[in-house]
Symmetry: C2
Subunit: 222 residues, 2 copies
């Protein structure tokens, strides 16, 4: 008995005081374990891509044994789907909270530029960008995954069009719907993100985003 007093469960080793292992309820254990596994799945995806994110890599990152994993998930595909869904749902929710910073209403281009930079940093740079692309591509050749993710990708575009559109108004005379412009904007950011993903970051891109903000400012106002 008490064979597992190693590492975490033994504290204050200097004083040689044994502290009982943290007692956690089974729902707590289950939830935390699944959370760890899903997080490790995304980490592996970000670090090694879909092709390189093997179950062994994921379990190593999570620090979870194969047996424990099997107790919580039936297949790797199921775990991946859950991880991807979580990632995308968070993005949808987050799209609604991106607000054009509080600037004087007359300061159109700058405020639009700030909105673009916010969206860029939140979705189309670094880890989130990588995961977004990995997950989208993984779904392409996996019917089951595609079925689960496709509606969330649609929701994201809808959310962008609607919530960003609420903060902006069409300039009188401009015959374009604000929601459409916002959708075009995220498409442009995405394409720019793919360029950076493939060819590395470009100093030109910040300038191009500002240029686009200027064009937008001719169409919308706050």
């Amino acid at each position: 008995m008490a064979m597992m007093l190693a590492g975490i469960n033994r504290r204050d080793m200097g004083k040689m005081v044994e502290v009982a292992a943290t007692r956690r309820s089974q729902p707590e254990r289950r939830e935390e374990m699944r959370r760890r596994l899903v997080a490790a799945t995304l980490d592996a995806l970000a670090d090694h891509g879909h092709a390189g994110a093997s179950l062994s890599v994921i379990l190593d990152k999570a620090g979870v044994s194969r047996g424990a994993w099997a107790h919580h998930f039936d297949t790797k595909a199921e775990m991946l789907a859950l991880a991807a869904e979580g990632l995308l749902r968070e993005a949808v929710a987050s799209a609604g909270t991106l607000s054009p910073p509080a600037l004087s209403p007359s300061d159109g281009p700058a405020a639009l530029g700030a909105l673009l930079e916010q969206a860029w940093a939140r979705f189309y740079e670094g880890r989130h960008r990588d995961l977004l692309f990995e997950v989208a591509l993984a779904a392409r050749t996996d019917a089951e995954l595609k079925q689960r993710l496709a509606p969330i990708f649609s929701d994201f575009i809808t959310a962008v069009g609607q919530s960003w559109g609420l903060a902006l108004h069409p300039r009188p005379g401009a015959g374009v719907a604000v929601a459409d412009l916002m959708v075009l904007t995220v498409y442009m950011l995405r394409g720019m993100a793919m360029q950076e993903l493939a060819a590395g970051p470009s100093p030109d891109h910040a300038r191009l985003r500002a240029l686009w903000a200027g064009l937008l400012a001719a169409q919308v106002t706050f």
Copy 2:
């Protein structure tokens, strides 16, 4: 001797006339075999994605034995890199040939719309789109591949900006470089392509492209 008279090498089986196997020079053989293998690599990538494009799948598609393959390529990675390079170089070359259809110079929006549709159909629909994304993502987590592909991705953007820009002129008063607008345009198309890849085709997208063409028409002329 003559153990391999099966299939291809025996013709006119009804008449039982033996026809000598087509004699091909070794450079011919080598070139055609490598071509077949590279083509099959892209096919596998398009059909099964990077994660699913195993060597076995590729060789099945090519109808080539493992031994024959080994005679022409050292590693799968090398073959994949060659296939990806070919794909992207063709795209760069093709970007230069996309011409705004011959329309009356006054017909700005329609001609720009036609250019967008040409680019959309050529690069961002169907197999080419899928391959483009697969290859870009594969490069992300493969340093060797990235090093070989990154400059070609950059070349593509440069080619779009320059060659498309040549056919167009900035409208007097518009303070935007035509090349920049063209780059923004391909970024937008790419982002739209990714949406279709992940969420399926959308009838809205043709309308959004036309809307974009309208915005462009306010900035450039022929």
